[in-house]
């Protein structure tokens, strides 16, 4: 399931819900990304998505993860709108029969979300704002999955 939402979320609640009532899943891995304050430089982040398109692009990546890692289920929640430092921006949980698949699929999905997912992110500081683009490290991270 892929969910874009303006409202803050509690990652613990999402993880508990995702784990509930599973009989054949041996492994659930999860990742929560928090907004950094950057030593007070960032007062807030503002994330923009293209409703429908953004979910569709993430769904395509999820399908890749399903076939590549044998992922059984996944839950992706991404905030949009204004996000204060310390708040969770993204939550990814992956479910698989065994842990390696769950860990790897979670790692893969996060690398995709950080570098290629259709979001536009504005950092709002005391002296104005700037549009953020992926860091070099984000490109290196996603490239890891492109070589066999």
């Amino acid at each position: 399931m892929i969910q874009l939402q303006i409202a803050p979320f509690d990652p613990g609640t999402l993880l508990s819900a995702f784990c509930k009532d599973r009989q054949e899943i041996g492994a659930v891995a999860s990742f929560t990304g928090l907004a950094r304050a950057e030593q007070g430089q960032t007062l807030a982040l503002e994330l923009e998505a293209y409703p429908g398109f953004t979910e569709g692009q993430i769904a395509a990546c999820l399908e890749t993860a399903r076939t590549r890692f044998g992922l059984v289920d996944a839950y992706i929640v991404h905030r949009i709108g204004k996000i204060a430092p310390g708040e969770a921006i993204v939550f990814v949980a992956t479910a698989a029969s065994h842990r390696r698949a769950a860990f790897e699929a979670c790692d893969f999905l996060m690398d995709y979300l950080k570098s290629r997912a259709p979001f536009w992110k504005k950092e709002i500081g005391a002296d104005g704002h700037r549009w953020v683009e992926p860091r070099d490290q984000d490109h290196v991270d996603i490239a890891r999955w492109e070589t066999p």
Binding site: G52, V90, K114, R116, F119, W131, V132, P134
Partner: protein
């Protein structure tokens, strides 16, 4: 005619994010946008700007209808 959506910095440069514009192809639409706002035109021609027609990424020219939705997507930030 098409509904035109601008995302990220493009919306800031144009001062609007959603507008209906008269044009029957993508090329004519781009021409119209450049003519109306050269600053936006420069930004639309910058490397890394992608075009989605009815939520599908496209390259080159395409015909537009009254129900077409054209989105100009600057380089994505990731989440």
């Amino acid at each position: 005619m098409a509904r035109v959506l601008l995302f990220g910095r493009l919306g800031d440069i144009a001062g609007w994010r959603d507008q209906v514009i008269e044009a029957d192809t993508l090329t004519k639409l781009l021409g119209r946008l450049i003519e109306a706002d050269p600053g936006l035109g420069e930004a639309l021609k910058a490397p890394g700007v992608q075009v989605a027609l009815d939520q599908v990424l496209v390259r080159g020219d395409r015909p537009l209808t009254a129900s077409s939705e054209v989105a100009y997507l600057p380089p994505m930030s990731g989440g």
